[in-house]
Symmetry: C2
Subunit: 116 residues, 2 copies
């Protein structure tokens, strides 16, 4: 579908969008929460906390890994997952910058005067 592959967008916007996309599913948000709550590294109890099949959870974990939010997984049984604080911080900052740029300061005058 992107007949136009991915040219013409700022790389920073592409990166930001990828991060946002990774957060764009309740299951992935929940997984991140579980990883944070359960301590530094957990092995496999994520599936028990989610209303999803093991295969589906594994898929979401893969997406989070690709986004850089999660790291770990020593191959074999009892994989080990934990959050990647560095990437999370980068994403947090990028999103904060975005919102700041959309804030009231940039918009010339009144908030939505001309708008119905």
């Amino acid at each position: 579908m992107p007949r136009t592959i991915s040219t013409a967008f700022a790389p920073s916007d592409v990166e930001l969008a990828a991060w946002a996309k990774a957060l764009g599913h309740p299951a992935r948000v929940a997984i991140l929460r579980v990883l944070a709550e359960r301590g530094t590294c957990i092995c496999g109890e994520i599936v028990d906390d989610l209303p999803l099949a093991q295969a589906t959870v594994s898929q979401h974990l893969k997406a989070l890994k690709q986004a850089g939010f999660v790291q770990g997984h020593i191959d074999g049984p009892r994989s080990c997952y934990c959050l990647n604080p560095a990437t999370l911080a980068k994403a947090q900052r990028a999103l904060a910058v975005l919102f700041a740029g959309l804030g009231p300061d940039c918009c010339s005058s009144s908030p939505d005067s001309t708008c119905s």
Copy 2:
């Protein structure tokens, strides 16, 4: 495809994910930026700033509208779009809270000691 419709996820997570999803495409991020830069309300110059067809931009605008990030569009020619600061602020706060919850404070001890 969600055989399980949308039960079993916290409504707040669903809302957060929807917001993140709306930001999960470079074009939509770019559109928000254009809306912010061009002043309070702009009519139709968005298409000129993006490497996308008019129909595609309209579609992304619709998605942003559904997420609540954008409001306006007085029917007819010369539609009028502007950001919705209230929803943007809510999303910003929700994301900040999420990241805070994933931060170092919640994780029991060392950052990733047990992780390879």
